[in-house]
Amino acid sequence: MTELVVKDLTVKAKDELLVDRASISLRTGELVALLGPNGAGKTSLIRASLGLERAAGGNARLDDQASDEVPPKERARKVSYLPQERPLAWPAQVRDVVALGRFSHGVTLGKLSQPDADAVERAMVACDLGHLAKRSVDTLSGGERAGMHCARAFAAEAPLLVADEPTTALDPRHQFRVMDLISRFVAKGGGALVILHDVQLAAQYASRLVWMKDGRITADGPSAETLTAERLEETYGVKAKVNGLRIEMEGAL
C-alpha cells in the first residue's frame, strides 16, 4: 500500500502564511476531496505535500520517506500529479501527451517500448480517447482535453493520484465523466486526492471530505458527517440547506 501522510505542514510565501499546520493523508482505496474557497491554500498544501514547494514547517512523507527528498522520478511513479490545466506549449499529438505520463518510466516519444505503449493504450481506452490518438491537442474541446489529461495521469500507473481542480471549466456531463474515471481508478485499487469547487460533486463521489479555510484544515471526515449547512456557511460564506448529501445553495451571505 502506498500512502501520503502530511503532519502539521506550514507553507509561507515571504511573510504570508499560506498553509497553517495542516495535516492530511491519502491512502490507496480512498477518494478524498479537498474543499475550500479560493485562496484557502489548497494548491499550496498539495504542492508542498508532494515536495514541489518548500514547507516552512511540519513534514510530508510519501511511504515513510520525506516527500522533498524523494527523487522526482520515483515520486512520479508513486503519485500522478495533475496540476490545474494550462495550455500546452506546442500543438502536440494526443497520444504523445498521454505517453508523457510515463516520463518517469523513461518513455521516449516516437519510440515507445512495448510496456509503455501498452500502458498508454490502456489509459486511452479507459478514458475513451482511442479515436483521438492522432489528433493535435489544439483541435480538442475542453472536455476532450480533460479526458486526455486524465489518461496521461493513469498512463503512469502510479498507485496515487493528486488532481488540482480537474473538473473546472467543464460542462456537467464532462464533470461527471472525469469523476467517473477517477472513481474507477480508485475502485481498481488506486487512491485519489482531488481539489474540487463543486461541493455537490465532491459529496457524491468522495469517501472523505477535507475542508480548508485560511490555510487551516477545519474538518476531515466522511461526507455524511462533515457536510453541514454550518460548515458551508463557515467555509464558503454561503447560505445553504443540506439534506443528507443533497445541497441546496440559496446565495451568498
Binding site: 515520486r75 494550462r86 506549449a89 504523445d96 516520463f103
Partner: protein, 330 residues
Amino acid sequence: MIQERWLIPALGVAGALAIFAACLIGSTPLPVSRVVAALFGGASEGDQLVVWAIRLPRALAAYLVGAALGLSGAALQGLLRNPLAEPGVLGVSATASLFATVSLYYGLVAAAPWTLPVAAIIGALIATGVLTFAAIRTVSVVTLILIGVGLSSFAGAMMSLLMNLAPNPFSLADMINWTLGTVANRSFNEIGLAAPFMAAGAGLLLWQRRGLSALTLGEEAASGVGLNLRRQRLCTVIGAGLATGASVALAGAIGFVGIVAPHVVRPLVSHDPARSLVPSALLAGLFLVIADIGVRILPTDNELKLGVVAAIIGAPAFIWIAMQRRGGRD
C-alpha cells in the same frame, strides 16, 4: 511516421551534397572530377591545397556553426516553450561576440588561442544564465525576449565603445567582422579549437532532450510527471551556452538561424521539442552552407558577410512567426 523516419537521413545527405557543392565554387574553377580527386586523394598539390585549406574548412565551418545554432535554438525553444527563443534574438550571440572581441582587443588570443572560444563561451553562459534566472521568476515570454533585447543592446553598446577606442583601423575592421559574422578564411585549426566545445554542448543538449518533451506540458505538470526541472534548466543553458559560444568563436554573431530551422522542422516531428533537435541542427547547417555559397557567388564588390545574409532571410521569418502566434499562449 514515414516522413519522420526519412527526415534525418534526407537532411544529412543534403548537407553533405551542399558541402561538396561549396567545394566546387571559388575563384579558381575546379571541375567535379578534380574536387573529388582532391577530397579522396590523388589530385595535384595545388588542387589539394585549394580544397583542403580553403574551401572545405569554410564549408565545414558554416555547417558546424549552423548546426550548433540550430540545435541551441531548438533546445532553448523547448526549454522556454516559445518558438521565438533563439541565441541571436535572446542576446546570447551578441554577448558572446562582445566577450570574444574583448579577448581579441586585449591581446589574450595572441598569447593563447584557446582564450577566444573560452571567452565567447563565458559570454554565452552569462547571457543564458541571466535569461534562465529571469525565466524562473517570470512566466511572461515577452519579458524574456525584452531581456534578450536588453542584453543585445548592452553588448552592442559595449562593442561600440571598444570600436570607439580602437587603436587603429585594422582592429576596427576586425571587430566589425566579428559583429557581422563570417566564415571566410577559416582553417581546420580554428575549427579544431571550437569543435570540442560544440560537441560537448551538443552532447549535453541531446542527452537531456527527453525533458524538453515533458516541458510541453508546462513546468508544473512536467515536474508532476517526474522531470527534475532544475537539472533540465541547468543542462540546457550550459549546453546551449557551450554550442552558441563556440559557434560565435568560429564565425562571430550570426542571428536568426536557430529560429528558422526549428520552425520548419517542428510540424514534421509532431511538434515534439526532443525530436526536433537533430533535424533542426542538420537543417540549420544546410541553410548556412547554402547561404555561404550565395555570399560567394553574388557578384558584389565587397563580399557580403554571412551574418548579414542570414539576418536578411531570418529577421523577416522571425517577424512572420511572431505575427502568426495567437494571443493567450504566453
